[in-house]
Amino acid sequence: MNILYVMVPLGLALLVLAGWAFFWAVSNGQFDDLDAPSWDVLRD
């Protein structure tokens, strides 16, 4: 079970990374409109 002493901090580090990525996405307006972009892929 000693591996947990590595895995838990690693998990926390990944959590911080995921949180940072999400913050970046929100600040860039990726979540401002969740409706229209689904249309762009159909035809551009």
Partner: protein, 880 residues
């Protein structure tokens, strides 16, 4: 009328138009030059997919808005600077776009803007009706952008409340980040907590070092959840404490702080319980609740935006005898502005005509129209309820208009439905008992068993949080409001849903509600050797200044020139001077009065009038002297030929004719008789049947002739109807119905319906009706489906039922769990879970008001519909 005679672009009847456009190799009919221009533009840009994916026909483009010239004002630097944000070489603007109804519309707008040379970025959002555009300043200007959008048939409005938009965007982004932190954090902490619980349940002893690791990791994760995601809760609690009140946030904060501090203490001590799981879960659900509330609030702001759009973007500028539409922002002090009947004054100004009747309710709250005389100062934002007037602009007060918009927004946001207010008050009372109960529990346990005092107090604070109680009603109401908006009904006042659920009678105004808003000119009998075309041109000139549904029937003919000295007489018709001759159009009696001795003052004054300028001044005196009933704030009833005083002699001897007849005459003779017909809406009969099925009676109160109303009533299956009602009569009828204990919903669209709409328990205005009716209405129907009304009543009834269920459930939960928690049967983690589940249960119950995914009308993103070979069978309608 068969399906093949509907316009391919806007879905409205063709009205004998022979125009057509080639789409994908097929020739499709269109109803007017406006639709033709837009459809050709769309086809030419290779964007015909729009027609494949759209959910409803496009709005019929206003031909005036397609004129490129009216946007030229926005090219001026001083005008553009009000709206445009400048960063380096790039200008950007936020536009409120009329008619952005579905994703296909926003896609079309985006595609066209992006394919414009010089545009760097374009996004359109159908949910908010807004488009954001950024462009290269050296290659384009604001006018080009507005023109590009307008050419598609969507009139754009430049927004200068950028600060409000940015504020909302920032708020939404911050809330989303908080929600993510709380959500991620809760999941991580739960992972640790579940493994600890699992070990306990399995009876195994966890390695002490590992346990310590889990606790420290939980602490690390819970700390940002507590202080970042939970910050608004603590701020709220601090505010209410400073104001010496007990808000919902106070016991919540107390519980959070207690649990967190105890957990941190125990973590470093290395023994005792930790409650990080409860803390993070609690914060997550609180944040979720706030997020949902914020979304609802932003959506309400969207509705008030729709109201704010009522403020004119353009003014009719009087320029050497002709009328030109210019943006309000392009007006200057001293300009003469024409304000037509039913329009809102765009600027502060001095009245140039003899008198005006204005509804100043927007500013003063007084709904009775005020009479103003020549030279008086009129305020922007007030409504012209009677004759067209001219005013000289004294203040181009962007401030006046802006403050008006702001007050509208504030009103909508400040008002809370009575039901929610009652629940809030009950929750506040309950909270005091909770704090007392927590104190009592703590002291009792300290006497009985001090070791358990902390846990029990914590459990009481958490479990008794009346969150579910507080969100029970708003959750149901917001779900219903969202659903109604999807059906095209906008709720403008918060108490409307409650009132709508209780109505038992619906009153229709015939023109424009049961029938489509536009009358059709079906015939023209000319008398005295007159040329039919010329008669139509004169009629068009007279009706040019009017916004009445009847006036639009004449709009197809090219007016000779703008009529001057135009005077509207309620219930009778319009009088004005065209090419130096005085004409009247309206009831036969009204027209006959002009050539008879009925108004000697008028004929005496006008014998020598020839030039437009003099005639206006001279005619004013005469017009003022014989203007009927000043107390009558309303204009003609829907059909001018059959007003309260008018005798409809013609309609009676042509028995098969069920339309309306309008007469045109000058000072010596009658020139022509126009026949106008109503077109019954295709879903009118189904609407009445649905209402009857719900125990709601329908009734028609119309100003039309008896025969015309009877025919409509028979086709819809309505037994009760009254014809030839004046506005005052309609009002009396509605009040009489209310006096017998009935709750009345009034559906109207005309200017003359405004007082009746105000008196009814629920008023619904058709979105295409005159601006005046919309201002006072509780609900706006934005599309042509009148069947949305009975559906809305059914939804409102279900909403009340669900809100009641929610309240009972939440109250039961709080009252039932409190004693259990006080007696120590509920550990804190279970209390947090119970609190969360009760809140989530309430929200899920409210979500039943939204349609299930499978029920939603075809999600076009996933299903490709073939382009119809024949024109859209959108609205087959019948000729009444």
């Amino acid at each position: 009328m068969s399906a093949a005679s509907a316009c391919f672009h806007c879905g409205e009847p063709l009205r004998g138009s022979s125009l057509s456009v080639a789409i994908d190799g097929h020739s499709q009919p269109v109803c007017c030059n406006g639709c033709l221009a837009v459809a050709e533009l769309i086809a030419g840009a290779g964007l015909i997919d729009f027609y494949r994916y759209r959910k409803s026909p496009a709005a019929r483009p206003d031909e005036a808005a397609l004129e490129p010239d009216i946007w030229a004002g926005y090219a001026m630097a001083e005008v553009a600077s009000q709206f445009v944000q400048r960063t380096g070489e790039t200008d950007s603007v936020t536009l409120l776009v009329d008619g952005l109804r579905c994703s296909a519309c926003s896609w079309l707008v985006e595609q066209v803007l992006r394919s414009t040379e010089g545009v760097r970025e374009a996004t359109a959002n159908a949910a908010t009706g807004r488009a954001h555009v950024a462009w290269d300043r050296s290659r384009l200007d604001l006018a080009d952008i507005m023109r590009a959008v307008a050419q598609l048939g969507y009139p754009p409005h430049a927004l200068n409340d950028a600060s409000l938009i940015q504020l909302q965007q920032q708020e939404q982004r911050a809330a989303l980040k908080r929600l993510a932190v709380a959500g991620f954090g809760m999941m991580q902490v739960m992972m640790f907590a579940v493994s600890v619980y699992a070990a306990e349940i399995a009876g195994e002893v966890m390695d002490a070092g590992l346990l310590a690791l889990f606790r420290v990791a939980s602490l690390l994760v819970a700390t940002p959840v507590m202080f970042y995601a939970g910050a608004p809760v603590f701020a709220g609690a601090w505010n209410s404490l400073r104001l010496r009140t007990v808000g919902m946030d106070v016991p919540v904060s107390a519980a959070l702080v207690l649990a967190y501090v105890a957990s941190v203490w125990n973590t470093f001590r290395g023994s005792g319980e930790v409650y990080f799981d409860s803390v993070t879960m609690f914060v997550f659900f609180l944040t979720l609740g706030r997020f949902v509330q914020m979304s609802v609030r932003h959506r309400t702001t969207g509705v008030t935006d729709a109201l704010a759009r009522q403020l004119p973007a353009f003014a009719h500028k009087w320029d050497q005898g002709s009328v030109r539409d210019v943006p309000v922002s392009a007006l200057a002090r001293g300009d003469v502005v024409l304000v037509r009947t039913g329009e809102i004054l765009p600027v502060d100004g001095e009245l140039m005509d003899a008198e005006a009747h204005l509804d100043e309710a927007m500013l003063t709250g007084e709904s009775k129209p005020v009479r103003r005389h020549a030279g008086e100062r009129l305020s922007a934002g007030t409504l012209n309820v009677q004759d067209p007037i001219r005013l000289r602009a004294t203040d181009i007060a962007a401030g006046t208009v802006l403050s008006h918009v702001v007050s509208l927004l504030r009103r909508a946001q400040a008002q809370k439905p009575a039901m929610s207010k009652a629940a809030d008050a009950a929750a506040a009372r309950f909270l005091r008992y909770v704090l007392w109960g927590a104190g009592l529990t703590c002291s009792a346990w300290l006497v009985v068993d001090p070791a358990r005092a902390f846990e029990a107090t914590l459990a009481v604070l958490v479990v008794a949080c009346p969150c579910a109680f507080a969100i029970a009603t708003p959750a149901a109401l917001s779900a219903a409001t969202a659903q109604l908006a999807r059906q095209g009904l906008l709720v403008t006042r918060p108490d409307t849903l409650e009132a709508l659920a209780r109505i038992d009678a619906v009153v229709f105004d015939k023109t424009g509600t049961l029938t489509s808003a536009d009358l059709r000119l079906t015939g023209c009998r000319t008398l005295a050797d007159q040329d039919e075309h010329r008669c139509r041109q004169i009629a068009a000139a007279l009706e040019l200044a009017s916004e009445h549904p009847l006036a639009r029937a004449f709009a197809q003919a090219e007016p000779l020139e703008p009529a001057c000295d135009v005077r509207t007489v309620a219930g009778s018709g319009v009088e004005g001077i065209v090419r130096g001759r005085r004409y009247r159009i309206g009831t036969p009696q009204f027209v006959a009065q002009l050539r008879g001795a009925a108004s000697p003052a008028a004929s005496g004054e006008n014998s020598g009038t020839s030039g437009a300028g003099n005639a206006v001044e001279a005619g004013q005196a005469a017009a003022a002297s014989d203007a009927p009933g000043d107390g009558d704030r309303c204009r003609r009833p829907p059909a001018a030929a059959t007003g309260p005083g008018g005798q409809d002699r013609r309609a009676s001897h042509a028995e098969d004719f069920l339309g309306t007849e309008v007469s045109l005459g000058d000072e010596t003779r009658e020139l022509a008789v126009f026949e106008l017909r109503d077109v019954l809406r295709s879903d009118a009969a189904a609407t009445v049947a649905m209402l009857r099925g719900m125990g709601i009676s329908s009734r028609i109160l119309s100003g039309d002739s008896h025969d015309a109303v009877a025919a409509i009533a028979a086709r819809c299956g309505i037994a009760e109807f009254s014809a030839r009602c004046s506005p005052a009569h309609k009002l009396a009828e509605v009040q009489a119905m209310q006096a017998t204990g009935r709750r009345v919903a009034m559906i109207g669209d005309g200017v003359n319906d405004a007082p009746v709409l105000a008196a009814a328990d629920v008023s619904i205005a058709m979105g295409r009706g005159a601006a005046l009716a919309q201002v006072g209405a509780d609900m706006l129907l934005m599309n042509d489906r009148i069947q949305a009304v009975p559906e809305a009543v059914a939804l409102a009834r279900r909403t009340l039922r669900i809100a009641r269920q929610n309240l009972v459930w939440a109250a039961g939960y709080n009252l039932g769990s409190l004693p259990l928690a006080a007696l120590g049967f509920i550990p804190p983690w279970l209390a947090a879970l119970g609190m969360s589940i009760s809140s989530v249960g309430v929200v899920l119950n409210a979500l039943r008001l939204l349609p299930r995914r499978a029920d939603r009308p075809g999600n076009p993103g996933f299903r490709l519909r073939p382009l119809p070979a024949s024109p859209a069978a959108a609205q087959p309608s019948q000729v009444a």
